[in-house]
Amino acid sequence: MAESSGTPHIEVSDLTIGYGDFVVQRGLDFVVNKGDIFVIMGGNGCGKTTLMRALIGLQRPLQGSVRYSGEDFWGASEEDRQRLKHRLGVLFQSGALWSSLTLADNVALPIAEYTNLSQTRIDEIVSFKLALVGLAGFEDFYPSELSGGMKKRASLARAMALDPDILVIDEPSSGLDPLTAKRLDELIVELRDSLGTTFVVVTHELASILSIGNNSIYLDAETHTMIPTGNPQEALKTGHPKVRHFLTRGAA
């Protein structure tokens, strides 16, 4: 499959996010194409996670719309929203694995909930997903018995349990060693290439931004709005001064 098919998958228009009277970001306008690895970057506290929560249905935006394949997400009925959510996989910043379930049960729960596959088939899928993130053989472990990086990878396995069309990932490589982080980046690119999954990656890890992103926006904490930045590699050379400053760790 091609890198980016050019068909819009997620369309965000005139989005304002915040809490009550407090506006975190306003005037957000961007399109994520099918098969994109779309990076939402920005410094600490700029509203990256708040935007993510608006995209995945955890927090209603103050204004504006989010469309998935043309369907309005927040304008839809509760049922339609549930249906759209099934096509979304989410990896939370801290993993958010269910601590009282084993890894196998963590990954199996969404599959058992939304398909009617037999237990053997579910077990097979679970083992495969865990193997894909390098955790083969850890089925019977509880999250509390794992290292931070393993938890992160296990929650990626859970996020992609149902082969979602869109994977939303909050800080994929934070807390991972460089090699594991690189493997995770490779996995993301591979899943995009072979399954055509669209990725929305919320991050401030420079290495990830530059190596996997093919489109991006920068959320500015000072002006409370976004700067469209396109391909991060190009933004590094010719982008907005603020973005270049960010991508070069303040050198430019």
Partner: protein, 377 residues
């Protein structure tokens, strides 16, 4: 995506010992593709080589990948050479990623449920180990108290006041309701029995001594165990989960000083006060019942109560309240500090805190009742 298209699986012998597997159609999870057993169950033992033809494949996802992963695994076990060049390039790369990290073999990990005897054994051992653990924690608290007395224990005074507010004034409504109703029950119970000997005025004695000496403290103890003991365990347990307790330790601040001490002090101060309050509310309920239902005069009831209430009854009630408070805080903090690192463990800690507190309260109440009887207090 069309759901009507189905997966197709076919095999073709391409030589003496080689097999071609023809995979076609739609291999997605929701199309419910088959498990790999379907292939190997019918497999001729002579097959040594295997290759794939996926020209007819229209769409695929993990449904195909899991099938192929287990086919390849079985091939490896049976020494069958599998040639994956016929697979879609993306599938080959993902399969390679899944095989890249070998499966962890973790020794001595029990998977299945334990037998009954093993369960009885472990539970008994755990129970036996609990005693020394309690004593150890008690020792830590005593050390911490000694540090407090010598002015070396560190905790924020503000924390103490916050705890005092949380466990004292905020518990007043529930203590009021329960004490009033218990006082009412006592009065009715007494009235029924004392009527037989025509001594209904002694309802006042029964309610006053009963509430102040025993029941006020017991009721308050049980309410606070459920309300505050569980809260303590949940708070400390959550702090344990999020490594906050470890953060205190690395700063060189004993968590017992900083977290347990203010909670124990708060309860030792507030439970006796609540006990006293509970006693008065109970007596008020007794007065109300006696005056309205059993025709005893307000003044009569009042003087009889005053006559019955000796100082020693207050002493017994207050001392019990203090001990119960200490027990509740001890149980709550103990279970919180022992908490494991999961949401379930926090729940267990809270439950266990209440059970332990009520057990300790009952044991302490029995011992104190016997001792006070012997001392004629």
């Amino acid at each position: 995506m069309q759901n009507d298209a189905q997966w197709q699986l076919d095999t073709r012998l391409t030589g003496e010992d080689s097999l071609e597997i023809i995979i076609g159609g739609r291999w997605c999870i929701d199309a419910n593709p088959p498990a790999s057993g379907i292939l190997f169950d019918a497999l001729d033992g002579r097959i040594r080589r295997m290759r794939f033809d996926t020209a007819g494949l229209t769409d695929w996802d993990s449904g195909l990948l899991t099938f192929l992963a287990s086919v390849l695994k079985t091939c490896a076990q049976r020494d069958i050479a599998a040639d994956t060049t016929g697979l879609p390039p993306g599938a080959r790369r993902l399969l390679a990623m899944a095989m890249a990290v070998p499966e962890q073999k973790v020794a001595g990990r029990d998977k299945g449920p334990q037998g009954m005897f093993a369960q009885v054994g472990t539970t008994t051992l755990e129970f036996l180990r609990d005693g020394p653990k309690m004593l150890y924690f008690l020792g830590e608290i005593i050390q911490s108290l000694l540090r407090l007395l010598t002015g070396r224990a560190r905790f924020r005074r503000r924390d103490l006041w916050l705890e005092i507010e949380e466990v004292g004034p905020r518990a007043l409504p529930i203590v009021s309701v329960i004490s009033f109703l218990v006082g009412l029950i006592l009065a009715y119970l007494g009235a029924d029995q004392l009527r037989l000997v025509g001594a209904q005025i002694f309802i006042a004695d029964l309610v006053a001594i009963g509430m102040v000496r025993e029941i006020g403290a017991l009721m308050t103890g049980i309410i606070i165990a459920g309300r505050t003991g569980a809260a303590f365990a949940a708070q400390l347990g959550t702090m344990q989960v999020s490594e906050e307790i470890d953060a205190y330790k690395t700063l060189g601040i004993p968590p017992v000083d900083f977290l347990v001490l203010p909670r124990i002090l708060a309860l030792m101060l507030m439970v006796p006060l609540l006990t006293l309050y509970s006693g008065f509310i109970g007596m008020f309920a007794g007065l109300l019942v006696s005056v309205t239902i059993f025709d005893i005069g307000v003044f009569e009831y009042y003087t009889e109560t005053l006559r019955a209430l000796e100082f020693k009854h207050f002493f017994v009630g207050l001392s019990k309240g203090t001990v119960y408070g200490a027990m509740i805080a001890f149980a709550g903090c103990l279970r919180g500090m022992q908490c494991g690192r999961s949401a379930e463990a926090v729940g267990r800690a809270a439950t266990s805190a209440v059970v332990t507190a009520i057990l300790l309260i009952t044991v302490a109440a029995s011992i104190m009742t016997i001792v006070y009887y012997q001392l004629d207090i």
